[in-house]
Amino acid sequence: MDFTLHVWRQGTPGSKGDFETYQAKNVAPSMSFLDMLDLVNEELTRDGGDPIAFEHDCREGICGSCGMMVNGMAHGPEDLVTVCQLHMRSFSDGDELWIEPWRADAFPVMRDLVVDRNAFDRIIESGGYISVRTGSAPDANAVPVPKPDADKAFDAAACIGCGACVAACPNASAMLFTAAKAGHLSYLPQGQPERYERAIQMVHQHDEEGFGNCTNHGACQEACPKGISVDYISRLNRDVLRARLAGVAFDST
């Protein structure tokens, strides 16, 4: 298969980037999208050019490193896959592919398709943890968790922090990510003591990072490779509302 690629190239953070056109030739349908980029990069390097920078690690859809817009769709056209798991057979021979980095002011472009997603880490630092004594691990069944709650917590925990939700959101809001991280803990007994403080802190940090406001649009859920449901956003809103009405203390530093 042959493709024409239009790839966003940008040397350094803040510099002016632009689209460059490349040809990808003899691509096997079984290759992943990243394999295809590797192929283009090999040729680029051979010709003395600069390879296209993109983030990747596991290449099996679990680390959340990879991610780019392909023809305006986060992680490309398939449902429930990351670009490393997206096969070239999802496209037609001769297709033109527009490849852009995630666009959000909270995710500055570092180079080409690589964006800085540290804002996510700071949202987690602000409240996405539980306080426990370290030491020997507790007995596995010491704290019973009802099965439906465990399932909900697990579904939320499937979030890999890839940022596709932000990228696809017309408001560049990170509420799906924030809600998944807060929701994961709010379904578990261990997450209860800090539940309301967590909701407030994480939403506060979300706003501080410069993400937009959720309008319950639903693009995030469509784009999410892990199928995280917008219902978690309802739950986070509920926790914020409850926390505020109950007057949960919170230091805004």
Partner: protein, 227 residues
């Protein structure tokens, strides 16, 4: 009060303010639609209903007392709703200053993409509507208290009726997303409610459109007349 202001300082809080004011406005547009349908019961019924709104609560409260209370509450609701919409729009706009060259919106509905412009159309319409039917400023032949005649004369103009229909259409589309969205904003977790949210919002939006559209259409078609 401090709790309310700290809540409002977050994006979720502003959404909650938008949802609560939206619910108040929804309650009003629903009652208003039912009130309009009085036109089909004739001049007498319509005018006496309007009179009732002026005197309701008397003699405990003065004439116009309840009417003005409601007006002030509605004005406040429109203010809160529009202000929070504006602030959130600004937050979202600055969250993506570099736009995509290609974007294929992976979305749920047309309605959710048009909330802001739809809202602006509705706001412009509210101003026009007050000048048209309440103060009579832009009405060709306004007589205070003759609600039925004002209505029939007002809608005998085709462009006016067309504008009304567009505005009511925009309101219905707004409500289709809004009535669905409000459950998420206020943190509903009831799965049975979640299942019927979409169809219920659609049914209410369509019902609202028909309920509002039928009165001006009846005037244009000569069903409601001055005779």
């Amino acid at each position: 009060m401090r709790r309310v202001t700290t809540l409002y300082s977050s994006s979720v809080g502003k959404k909650i303010a938008m949802a609560l004011s939206g619910i108040i406005l929804f309650g009003f547009v629903l009652m208003h639609m039912l009130g309009n349908l009085k036109a089909f019961e004739g001049r007498e019924a319509m005018n006496s209903y309007a009179e009732f709104l002026r005197v309701v609560g008397t003699p405990i409260v003065p004439e116009y007392g309840v009417l003005w209370l409601v007006r002030i509450a509605l004005l406040a609701a429109v203010g809160v709703h529009a202000l929070s919409a504006f602030q959130l729009w600004r937050q979202s706009r600055s969250a993506r200053t570099h736009r995509y060259l290609k974007s294929r919106s992976q979305v749920f509905s047309y309605a959710s993409r048009t909330m802001r412009w739809g809202g602006v159309i509705v706001l412009a319409f509210i101003v026009y509507h007050l000048l048209h039917m309440t103060t009579g400023t832009v009405h060709p032949d306004f007589e205070y208290g003759s609600v039925y005649d004002n209505l029939v004369i007002g809608f005998q103009s085709a462009p006016v009726t067309a504008f009304y229909l567009v505005a009511v259409g925009a309101l219905s589309i707004h409500l289709y997303h809004g009535l669905w969205s409000v459950f998420s904003t206020l943190g509903n977790e009831n799965v049975r409610v979640n299942r019927i949210r979409r169809p219920a919002a659609a049914a209410i939006a369509i019902g609202m459109f028909l309920g509002y559209a039928v009165v001006p259409l009846a005037v244009v078609l000569g069903i409601l007349t001055l005779g």
